[in-house]
Symmetry: C2
Subunit: 106 residues, 2 copies
DNA sequence: TTGACATGCAGGTATTTACCTGCATATTAT
DNA sequence: ATAATATGCAGGTAAATACCTGCATGTCAA
């Protein structure tokens, strides 16, 4: 997994919206997805290309249509390898800050 | 929580590195953090400002120093409100894709 | 007090990014 | 066959971004 591509892909609201749309209904065509976006089809394609490069979306051609499927695996890996590290230390990290705010010599 | 700010903040490798550094040792000064980065101090400050705007980092001034504390809460909220939605549907989403790849009429 | 140190502030620039338009190609339906 | 449809491809532009340099301010220590 290329963590940088995944995070960069998630860093744009349009791309998160696309993932949301695919979560509601998986396997949508480019045209279907565009109906919900206020931008040119070609712009949406560029966003979808980035999602595909990050392996967050996989596509299948069916005739003249292109179907888009969300792939939740990279999200899971991001969580497992990156977010959980902070989760584990959550309470202690907050404790550090609280101590500092209260003054360490109390 | 401003999800967009959080995702944008996480979308840069330098800022993820800063969070990593704070996870290793919380409460570091700007100078300490800069020792691990290959860029001007002022550039690091800009990254830290974005992390602070996203509420991923809180700061406390101590004399002429500025201490930085990681705040794991937004990460947790991002996970809870956003990533878990996909987690929950993980298996079924993969199933959709598998079906499509195998041909739906089989 | 004065010099060293830690950080803040104000631009400036080159790259990346998020859009767009115009046209080409491939598939389906009449 | 031909028209309509779905998507691909190739630039072009304006804004955002990630850097930088130079200088100012505030704090500590000798």
């Amino acid at each position: 997994m290329d963590a940088d591509k995944v995070f960069k892909a998630l860093g744009d609201p349009t791309r998160r919206r696309l993932l949301d749309l695919l979560c509601e209904q998986n396997g949508q065509t480019l045209g279907q997805l565009c109906e919900h976006l206020d931008m040119a089809r070609q712009s949406a394609t560029q966003h979808l290309d980035l999602l595909e490069a990050a392996n967050l979306v996989s596509t299948v051609k069916r005739g003249r249509e292109k179907l888009h499927f969300i792939n939740p695996v990279p999200l899971h890996e991001v969580y497992e390898r990156w977010v959980r590290k902070f989760e584990r230390q959550r309470l202690s990290l907050l404790h550090d800050l609280k101590q500092e705010l209260e003054g360490e010599d109390q």
